[in-house]
Amino acid sequence: MSSYNFSEPSQTSRETSGAGKAARYEMAGLSSSLGLPERYFLTREKGDQAYRFLEGHLGQIPERRALILSFPPEQVVDASFADEFVIRLGEKLVAGEFGERTALLEGLTEDSIHNLEAVIRLRRTKLVFLLVDPEGGWRHAGPLEPSLSEALVLTASRGTITAPELARDLRLALNTANNRLKRLHALRLLWREHEVSEKGLRYIYHFWEWLGGDDNNVDNKVSNSGEVRDQEGKHG
């Protein structure tokens, strides 16, 4: 599985209004709230409780932002918890129930990733999750066709992209480029905004951000009360 690192924020002249600031949720706190030992995420019941707890939080962050689910080191995540929490979250995201938002998974061990991918495979779902690290590296878990992976990597390296740009860079037909970006958006691996010009409606696709940048130099943290605050305690 390939990993990517784009720690240098890409330069773009487009405005991304209100976008980019990710919110981080420390999963160690959630496991404690669920009555589990700190790095253990076990059983279907707890996964269900975790999902119900977090769905409210995810809905509170502004659209076009990601919620980083940050797992503690050496966590143990069983398949039942992963199915009830992560997979279910992914299904709801893809179904559009959370609008233009996504969840990024941070800090998962190889074993937890293995479990997650096993669940994805056995459930025959097409879900794909972005696995991120604090240094800007990322990879994906779940089945992603090579053509979509190629488009995703290119978009991540640029930060933003349009169908004509993708078509030009990868020498694709415009329709093909358009379809690939739409599919990546449908998987919640990209978010998009639109422009209306004399040429008509045009979509601009963005890779999710989770690092500090020029207009994104604090991490927003989701408190147990459900409020979204930045590191200085101000509302985001």
Partner: protein
């Protein structure tokens, strides 16, 4: 498995009696699946007599083993050695070889079993193998408390050295006297087949009894891990059983002596093949 089937044959169809005594003179060795089977058999027989089952003529080493496995501790309401328990039993709490017989009454017990198993087996299992073991344990224990309806299901794990090969085998055994796989699936899906074996196959194929429709992954995951670890999975419920081996061979058994609930044995070989 053959010796356990003999135990099921002894118990099946037993009528109520004043007391039951199991003569253990021909038992020279017991594995986790056997301990679980003994525990469940004792519960069944004690239910018929209203008294604890006595184990007579128990070989000294077997008795020590059963005591070490906490059979008489966890199963104290249903089974005891005929000669009484040794006083001052000195257990080594640090042994890295086993997880004693552990009751699974609810989700918290699943968590406890896993955290204990991780602590015990992390001393000598490499991380991928340990993860495989914990996955098996988690899924099997969850099945007990979520689907069986039996508040007294149990689990046990032990590792052995495999003869001349020097490889290690980790044996996981789980059992309950609950409703069994057929009743669990039939409650949601209606009639899938005509006999318990049909329901075992459905369970192995991923059918779930959950109202939400989610689930049905556990046994498939367990089978994956078992086969990937060069081992095997034995799933038994009522009068049927399925055996899956790492070689890919799968064997079905029907017409076994009736044993209520579900019993599972998983053998994993370490180091697990990568």
């Amino acid at each position: 498995m053959g010796d356990v089937e003999a135990l099921h044959a002894l118990v099946d169809g037993r009528r109520p009696a004043e007391r039951f005594v199991l003569d253990m003179r021909r038992v020279g060795f017991v594995k986790p699946y056997g301990v679980v089977a003994l525990f469940l058999a004792a519960r069944r027989l004690a239910g018929l007599s209203g008294r604890r089952v006595e184990l007579a003529n128990v070989d000294h080493q077997v008795r020590s083993y059963l005591e070490r496995m906490d059979l008489f501790e966890v199963g104290g309401d249903w089974v005891a050695p005929a000669e009484g328990l040794d006083a001052g039993w000195d257990r080594n709490p640090q042994t890295p070889n086993l997880l004693e017989l552990t009751a699974i009454e609810g989700p918290q017990d699943v968590v406890t079993a896993i955290t204990r198993a991780e602590r015990v087996f992390s001393r000598w299992l490499d991380v991928p193998d340990l993860n495989g073991l914990l996955r098996v344990l988690s899924e099997l224990c969850a099945n007990v408390h979520q689907h069986s309806g039996d508040p007294l299901g149990c689990v046990m794990i032990q590792k052995y050295e495999e003869g001349a090969s020097g490889r290690t085998i980790v044996c996981v055994a789980v059992g309950d006297l609950g409703c069994g796989v057929r009743a669990s699936l039939a409650a949601r899906h209606g009639e899938i087949g005509r006999e318990p074996l049909d329901y075992l196959h459905a369970a192995m194929a991923g059918r779930t009894s959950r109202e939400s429709g989610r689930g049905g992954l556990g046994l498939r995951l367990v089978e994956e891990v078992a086969k990937g670890a060069g081992g095997r999975l034995w799933l038994r419920s009522e009068t049927a059983a399925v055996l899956g081996r790492a070689s890919g061979e799968s064997r079905s058994h029907r017409g076994l002596r009736h044993a209520p609930g579900t019993q599972v044995a998983v053998d994993l070989r370490s180091p697990f093949p990568s």
